[in-house]
Structure formats: structure tokens, C-alpha cells
């Protein structure tokens, strides 16, 4: 289903949670709302779900498949919602949790018992938990509970699936597995989905599109490649990964100069033991971390600033760099944002 939000604002007392947000989510897309806490991403999700109402301002509207959505209860919207802390019904078995959305339908629309059984078992096999159908939520692990919550949301055949920090309460390894699993599920069953997260890695890995939010506004909206490689602001670049900050003086051909800040990711820097063309900073190696897919080297520059550089293992072997060596930093690629200029 296609969703269009227009001029959505939301205030809680004097706090502005959302400030005139417009966004379109296309059929079959998996969109991640990414941002720090307090950026309004969960509020936006809850407004789509109908759990929260947007401020009733002129022009504010939500369209589901082009039709304006009036003030309607969550039930009528047919949205599947997955909560960070699962919100499974603890007094019901896994089976009854998944069956809930079918059983509460008005009698006319309620499928017969045999059909409910078939549908629930089909979903349980999708989440690979058929054998635990008669367990209670308290008897499951966190990852299993979140899969049950997902199956429960899918049982109502939602027109849109909303996930609020679904892996936030899980440990790192389970998180990674579930992320990949969710991506595969989305390929198999392309329900239009919106995922809220504050974990940039999660958003980059899972989503078709990332909407980065800051203080109630959309900062940038694009594919993972676009937002990662072409951040529109310093905030986006800082939020999507580690950044080295350099204070610089830019000069043009006419000799006019401006002070600014340069941002470069760790893999956009290189180190060598000898000064050469393009090397600009000198420093001392303070820390080398090799237990990862890239070697991470911390350098303290002569300006007393810490610079982090990442390079592949073979490149690190070639360079011959060791702890406490004096090294030269070469900036292979960097970005300047307009907001950082001071002339």
C-alpha cells in the first residue's frame, strides 16, 4: 500500500515532537526512520498506526492509497504494529497470540476455526516456531518472542507493517540474525513496511530507503547508498558512522580564504611512514586494533586531535606501521558542509 503523509506536526505540551513532516512511502518498500532519541521517529510511526493523533492543523493529512484517512481507530487501518518490548499477551500461548487478530474479528468476517488453525500454523512455520505453539511468552527467548510478535502482526494481513525498534531489546548476535531474517522475509512477502531504529547499521543493512530525522524534521531521505555516500548535512554524516573532523583553511585561485571544517570517514584516510605528495598531518600512532575486518588505527596529531583511520589488513601489513611510530595522514576523500563555513 502507498502511504502519503502531508504536513504532519505533533506537540506534547511545549515539546515539538514533529514539525511539518511530509513523506511518501511506496508500495512494497521497506523504509527505515533513523534518528537519535527524541527526533520524532517513533511518534511518526505511532501516528501512521493511529495510536497517536497528529495535531489537527489545516493541510495536515494522511493518505492510504490516495484516500484521505480521517480520524480512525487503529483497528480500521489494518496496520501491523511490532513493539520494541514485544507486547505479547502473557496469559495466552504462542498460538493464541498469533490467532488473536483473527479471533477478535466481527462474526461475519471471522474465519472458521479450521481456517484459523491453518493460517496460524502457516505463520508459525514462517517464523520457524511451530514446535513452540503451546508455550507461553515467558518460556521463550527474546528473539523468539519478537518473531511471535511479528507473526501476530502479519496474521491480520496488514496493509502496512510498522516496526518500532523491533530489535532494540535484543543482544548483538540475535539482532544481526533477525535483521537478515527480516530482510529475507520482506523479499518473500513484500508488505509495505516502516522500521524505526536508532541503529544506523541496522537501517543501512535492512532498508530500501532511509529517512533520517532530527528534532522533529526530516534531515535527508534516500537509498542507503545515497545517504551514506552523499550525506546532505554534517548531522547525517556524523550520525551514519564514525567521522574525523579537521579544521581547515580553504583558498581559492584568487587567494581568498575561508575557515571551515573537513569531515572524512576512517576509510577515507590513509597513513604512511614517509611524508609524500598529499600528506598533510603528522602524528603518532596511539592504538592499533586488528581484531576486526578492518584494521583500526588511532593517531594523535601534532594539533592534539585524535584521528581514526581504517584500512584493510594487507594494506596495514605493507605499510609496516607499528605502535608509537610517527606517521603522515593523507586525506583521500573528505566533505565540507556549507553550515560549517565561517568567513
Amino acid at each position: 500500500m502507498n502511504i502519503r503523509l502531508e504536513h504532519i506536526s505533533k506537540h506534547f505540551g511545549s515539546f515539538t515532537a514533529l514539525d511539518d513532516v511530509s513523506l511518501e512511502i511506496r508500495e512494497g518498500e521497506l523504509v527505515a526512520l533513523l534518528g537519535p532519541s527524541g527526533s520524532g521517529k517513533t511518534t511518526l510511526l505511532r501516528i501512521i498506526a493511529g495510536l497517536e493523533a497528529a495535531d489537527p492543523l489545516p493541510g495536515a493529512a494522511i493518505y492510504f492509497d490516495g484516500r484521505p484517512l480521517d480520524v480512525r481507530s487503529p483497528a480500521e487501518r489494518r496496520v501491523g504494529f511490532v513493539f520494541q518490548h514485544y507486547a505479547l499477551f502473557r496469559t495466552m500461548t504462542v498460538f493464541e497470540n498469533v490467532a488473536f487478530g483473527l479471533r477478535v474479528r466481527p462474526r461475519r468476517f471471522r474465519p472458521p476455526e479450521a481456517e484459523i488453525r491453518r493460517r496460524v500454523m502457516e505463520l508459525l512455520s514462517l517464523i520457524q516456531l511451530e514446535s513452540l505453539a503451546h508455550r507461553y511468552p515467558a518460556q521463550l527467548s527474546g528473539g523468539q518472542r519478537q518473531r511471535v510478535a511479528l507473526a501476530r502482526a502479519l496474521a491480520i494481513e496488514p496493509r502496512i507493517l510498522l516496526l518500532d525498534e523491533p530489535f532494540g531489546a535484543l543482544d548483538a548476535k540475535v539482532r544481526q540474525d533477525l535483521r537478515r531474517w527480516l530482510r529475507n522475509l520482506h523479499e518473500k512477502m513484500p508488505v509495505t513496511s516502516v522500521l524505526v531504529t536508532h541503529d544506523q547499521e541496522e537501517a543501512l543493512e535492512v532498508a530500501d530507503r532511509i529517512v533520517i530525522m532530527r528534532a522533529g524534521r526530516i534531515e535527508q531521505d534516500g537509498t542507503p547508498e545515497e545517504v551514506f555516500h552523499h550525506p546532505r548535512s554534517a548531522f547525517v554524516m556524523d550520525f551514519l558512522g564514525q567521522v574525523n573532523l579537521f579544521h581547515a583553511r580553504l583558498e581559492n585561485a584568487h587567494g581568498e580564504a575561508a575557515l571551515t571544517r573537513l569531515r572524512a570517514r576512517p576509510h577515507e584516510l590513509d597513513l604512511s611512514l614517509q611524508a609524500g605528495k598529499g600528506t598533510s598531518l603528522r602524528g603518532r600512532v596511539r592504538r592499533i586494533q586488528t581484531a576486526a575486518s578492518l584494521v583500526k588505527i588511532e593517531v594523535l596529531t601534532e594539533q592534539q586531535e585524535t584521528v581514526v583511520v581504517e584500512m584493510p589488513h594487507d594494506r596495514f601489513q605493507e605499510s609496516g606501521i607499528r605502535l608509537e611510530d610517527t606517521v603522515f595522514v593523507r586525506v583521500k576523500d573528505a566533505r565540507v558542509f556549507v553550515e560549517d563555513y565561517s568567513i
Binding site: 498506526a49 493511529g50 495510536l51 481507530s73 487503529p74 483497528a75 489494518r78 496496520v79 501491523g80 504494529f81 513493539f83 518490548h85 507486547a87 505479547l88 499477551f89 502473557r90 496469559t91 488473536f100 487478530g101 477478535v104 474479528r105 511468552p137 515467558a138 510478535a149 501476530r152 502482526a153 496474521a155 491480520i156
Partner: protein
């Protein structure tokens, strides 16, 4: 437990607690049954089977039967309002729920007499229309409701605050209506605490003396509840009869205690399950 306490401290503390319990609870309880059977089992049964006693028993059970379901509704509504909505005057409401605990029951009975007695405006109007509240059963029910209404809300509010409303929101997104959410999601989670509150309501409704005494008018066979009947018998120097009726109240109390401990155990188990899940 503090392992640093020497054994004699522990023994002394436990001893003091037990001695106190014996003095104020067990000895009087034994005395009640002893006095009740002083003139033999036949006299005991005669006192119980007395028409006035049976009328008092019927009235007491009637009052409890009205107070318990009404309190279930009031308590749930109050707890729901306080824990699920934000509104102006919420703190005031929470304070007001406790009012019956703070006011002497006699005062609350008196307020009903002043408000609804035949000399008051409302009472006069009611009497003119043939409705008697004070010195009649409706007054007794009102007074009992007043003194019992904090129990259920007091039990439910902390539990519902702890549980939050995410489950209800999840049920709403799955298409459940308000009543279905309450019956299938909320009620199963709070049922033991609700029942516990109702056990307390029941005990208080059966045993209430002060408030009921003021509004009842002590009409034998018509507006006497069991506790009032005990007083009347005692004042008439029918000691054995008074204690026989008192022993009935003691049996209710013991049944209440048993129900209460079973429920406390169930609530503890439900809480432990909740803790294990989060």
C-alpha cells in the same frame, strides 16, 4: 535477611511478634468460640436459628452481594481512568479514593443521615415519593459502599501502572474493540488483584459497624446486620447469643483470610512471571 544478627535477636523478635499475635488475636478468637458454646451446642444452634439472627444474616449477605459487584465496577473504572488517561485533577481523584480510609466510619454514616434523612431536602423529597433511605436497607448499602470503595482501586492502580498499556495498544492494532481488549487482554492480567480487592471489600462489607450503625436505626429483623445484632444481644445481657452470632462473623473472617492467602500467592506468581518476561 541480615545474617549479622545474632540468634538471640532473631528469637526475641519472633517471640515478641508471636506473643503479640496470640494476645490480640488467638486468645480473643478462642474466647469467642468458648463463650458461644458456654450453654452447650443446643443453645448455640437456637441462637443461630433465631429469626432475628437469620434476618440479620440475610441482610448482611444482601449488602455484601450488592457492594462487591458495584465495587468491582467502580474500582475498575477508577483504576482504568487513573492509569490510562491523563487529565486535570488526577491527583485529586487518587487522593479522594483514599478518603473513606481517612474519615471515621461513624462520621460518614452521619453525613448520609444529614444528607438523606427525612429532615434534609433530598431526604424529604425522597420520603414524599415513598422512598426511605435512612433507617432502611438503601442507607445501609450506601454507607457500606462508601467505606469499601477504596479497596479495589488501591489494589489495581499499582499493578496496572506497572504493566503499562502496550498490550492494550497491540490488541487495538490487531483489530480488537474496547470491550474485547478489556475481556481478553486486560482482565486476565489483573484478575487475581481484582479478586483480592473484592475479598477485602467482602470482609469489610460483612463486618462494618460504625457507618452502618448510624444509618440503620437498629430495627430488629429489618435493618440489623450481623455486627449490629451482636451489639443488641450483648446489650440485652444475652452473652451466649451475642457470642454465637459473633462466631459466625469469625468464620467469615477465617474464610476471608484463607481466600486472601491463596490470592496473594497467585498474585506473587503472576508478578514473578511478569518479571521473568521483561
Amino acid at each position: 535477611m541480615n545474617r549479622g544478627d545474632p540468634p538471640w535477636v532473631r528469637r526475641t523478635l519472633i517471640g515478641v511478634a508471636l506473643a503479640f499475635l496470640g494476645l490480640v488475636l488467638l486468645v480473643p478468637l478462642a474466647a469467642v468460640f468458648g463463650e458461644a458454646f458456654r450453654n452447650g451446642a443446643a443453645a448455640y444452634w437456637r441462637s443461630i436459628a433465631d429469626p432475628a439472627t437469620l434476618a440479620a444474616l440475610r441482610l448482611t449477605l444482601l449488602v455484601a452481594a450488592i457492594a462487591v459487584p458495584l465495587n468491582a465496577v467502580f474500582g475498575l473504572a477508577a483504576a482504568w481512568a487513573v492509569t490510562r488517561f491523563d487529565f486535570r485533577g488526577k491527583n485529586l481523584l487518587v487522593t479522594l479514593i483514599d478518603l473513606p480510609f481517612a474519615v471515621s466510619p461513624v462520621i460518614s454514616g452521619l453525613v448520609f443521615v444529614l444528607l438523606l434523612g427525612s429532615h434534609s431536602m433530598i431526604g424529604g423529597w425522597l420520603v414524599a415519593h415513598g422512598v426511605r433511605v435512612i433507617f432502611a436497607v438503601p442507607g445501609i448499602v450506601l454507607a457500606t459502599l462508601f467505606v469499601t470503595f477504596p479497596f479495589v482501586a488501591r489494589e489495581l492502580i499499582p499493578l496496572m501502572q506497572e504493566q503499562g498499556s502496550e498490550d492494550e495498544q497491540a490488541a487495538a492494532t490487531l483489530g480488537a474493540g474496547g470491550w474485547q481488549i478489556f475481556r481478553r487482554v486486560t482482565l486476565p492480567r489483573i484478575r487475581w488483584a481484582l479478586l483480592y480487592g473484592l475479598v477485602l471489600v467482602n470482609a469489610r462489607a460483612i463486618g462494618e459497624f460504625g457507618a452502618v450503625s448510624v444509618v440503620s436505626g437498629h430495627i430488629r429483623g429489618a435493618t440489623n446486620t450481623l455486627p449490629l445484632h451482636v451489639e443488641i444481644l450483648y446489650n440485652e445481657y444475652n452473652i451466649a447469643g451475642a457470642f454465637a452470632v459473633a462466631s459466625l462473623l469469625c468464620l467469615f473472617a477465617l474464610a476471608t483470610l484463607a481466600a486472601k492467602s491463596v490470592l496473594e500467592w497467585k498474585i506473587r506468581r503472576a508478578r514473578a512471571a511478569l518479571a521473568a518476561q521483561s
